[in-house]
Amino acid sequence: MKLKSLIIAASIAASTATIAHTEGVKVGMITTLSGGGAGLGIDVRDGFMLAIAQSGRDDIEVVIEDDQRKPDIAVQLADRLIQSEKVDVMTGIIWSNLAMAVVPGAVAQGQFYLSPNAGPSPLAGAACHENYFNVAWQNDNLHEAAGAYSNDAGHSNTFILAPNYPAGTDALTGFKRMYEGELAGEIYTRLGQTDYAAEIAQIRASGADSVFFFLPGGMGISFLKQYADSGVDLPVVGPAFSFDQGILQAVGAAALGVRNTSQWSKDIDNETNAAFVESFQAEYGRLPSLYASQGFDTANLLISALEVADVDDADAFRAALEAANFDSTRGDFAFASNHHPIQDIYVREVIQEGDVFTNKIIGTALSDHSNAYVDQCSM
């Protein structure tokens, strides 16, 4: 009996000793670095690493893994990061379906998860968790802003379309939550669809006065090029995902003048943002996208919390994260009670600067906007 308790005491001592010896923090980043959606993950990673480098802290170790945009691979990577790498904080996931596969399991094991992009509605509502923080937006936010902008712009008969998958339904739901006019038509397209001739013909025939679309990545490039070529010249409104810095160059002049909604733009006027845009361009030789700004803000939130609390003291660390005491590239930034941002969402217009296509803020769609799921979260 004595021997046994001695061993237990010794092993407890040993384990606390190892904790005391692990200085620094280990961050596990799972993001998309190969395949079709790689541009987004690369921007998040580059923004994140830029902030870590600028902080001058060499006690933060970041383990970066590529999920290839596949939920099963993301789950495997998460298990490995938690069990063998023993990371303290996780981050990085771009796509909502991957986030839904990884995040609930990770936070249930006591991990902190800081989302730099995906913000599916369940994680903001019924499935919210005290260790889950979203630094980008709740999925509906930019679409809600697009609906609000459509009202302001006097659109009263809009044609709306999005891909037929959960984030697409969220998008149209978010748009309709704010939009007050009539709908000239509503279409769910196929995920990954590349030819939009049939949809554009329907838009032409519908008598709409404007178009709202959510088609992220390559789908948006295809739609905009074909739309510009079709002779339909109704005004187009969309969330920033089809107009980020990474894909505007591929769309070219077809996107000029399009209004899109975003929580970030490179011309938001504050010191942090100006320094971020300049240093990102100097480091990587390209303009940052909204994804890069989200990665940058995520890292700065993490660093701000680490400065006041130890990550092993979960309650103190959580309180430090909730305070969101960091300089965001977006200016004012706070967390709602369900750990999603309260922030301004802007309307941007696609312009050409020299031979580079980029965005310019032309107004604010929603001020201090939170999300519709706060009440459903019992936190």
Partner: protein, 305 residues
């Protein structure tokens, strides 16, 4: 739905079908003549689009870009045939699928390595931009009309080559009995390289033509590849005529299904469920078409008896 919209959608379907034909023609030749399942056909489509985007970016000429897409994809086809495919003719289909699947991964990552992860810019030339007025007051994209014309010209050229030229005779003979034409003194491996390069070049051309109105990015070939397989199964494996008819059938079914089904269900269902039912059913429509064809003609419309 008005008649005008219906005609416009039919044209859209025709254009989509012709584009699929360019992909499917190469696939069906390779499968019919060489007995090879080439999953990497979509990668050749991607190579064509990237080559076109690079050349158009450097020279500003769309015609040069088209030539580059054709030549680069053919060249890539020759390399792939010589170094990889040649070793697979005697293996079973599973080995071929594995090897060509590996080629997809290698070519995708290699392209990403060379061109980066962000989509490239490739636009149609000014002289093909804008719309034309067709009879009955239909406003239609000039570029899409041009794709229809190019596709039909390529189809006519292939028919002529297969039925009237010596190389066409050899291809048809190789399809029937590869050992016998080898015994008759035809250089089989040269013939195979030619067929593979031709298929690759057509895929590359399709990639460049489509890249101008879609996005040029890594992984763009795989969705089209699946449709191209559906086309050759419907048309009958190895038949160019089958590929053309199958491609146009698939193009029309897909486009018209997408536009007609939601409004059809709207006649007797409430709008939201009509839309979701229509959207789901239209994405199944081409597979339903394939099942229908295979039930009555198990070898496809123009497959051997």
């Amino acid at each position: 739905m008005s008649l005008l919209l219906f005609i416009e959608q039919t044209l859209n379907g025709l254009q989509f079908g012709v584009m699929l034909f360019l992909m499917a023609a190469g696939l069906t030749l390779v499968f019919g003549v060489m007995g090879l399942i080439n999953l990497a056909h979509g990668s050749l489509y991607m190579i064509g689009a990237f080559a076109a985007a690079a050349v158009a970016g450097a020279t500003g000429s769309f015609l040069l870009a088209l030539v580059a897409s054709f030549v680069c994809a053919a060249f890539a086809g020759v390399l792939i045939e010589f170094f990889v495919i040649r070793r697979l003719y005697d293996r079973d289909h599973l080995d071929q699928v594995l090897a060509t699947f590996a080629l997809i991964l290698i070519l995708s990552e290699a392209t990403r390595w060379v061109f980066g992860s962000f989509p490239l810019f490739l636009d149609k030339p000014d002289w093909l931009s804008g719309t034309v007025m067709l009879p009955f007051g239909i406003e239609y994209s000039l570029y899409r009309l041009a794709i229809i014309v190019v596709g039909l010209v390529v189809a006519a050229g292939l028919f002529w080559m297969i039925s009237k030229t010596r190389i066409g005779i050899r291809i048809r003979a190789g399809e029937n009995d590869r050992e016998m034409i080898g015994a008759l003194g035809v250089n089989i491996s040269l013939l195979y390289t030619f067929v593979f390069a031709l298929g690759a070049a057509l895929a590359g051309l399709a990639g460049a033509l489509v890249g101008a109105i879609q996005s040029v990015q890594v992984g763009m070939g795989e969705p089209v590849l699946i449709l191209a397989f559906v086309v050759i199964v419907i048309g009958g494996i190895g038949s160019i005529k089958g590929a053309l008819i199958g491609a146009i059938l698939v193009g029309l079914t897909d486009t018209l299904g997408r536009s007609l089904l939601p409004s059809f269900f709207g006649l007797f269902l409430e709008p939201s469920s009509a839309m979701s039912l229509g959207a789901s059913l239209s994405s199944m429509s081409i597979y339903l078409l394939m099942i229908g064809v295979l039930l009555f003609r198990p070898k496809g419309l123009f497959g051997g008896v």
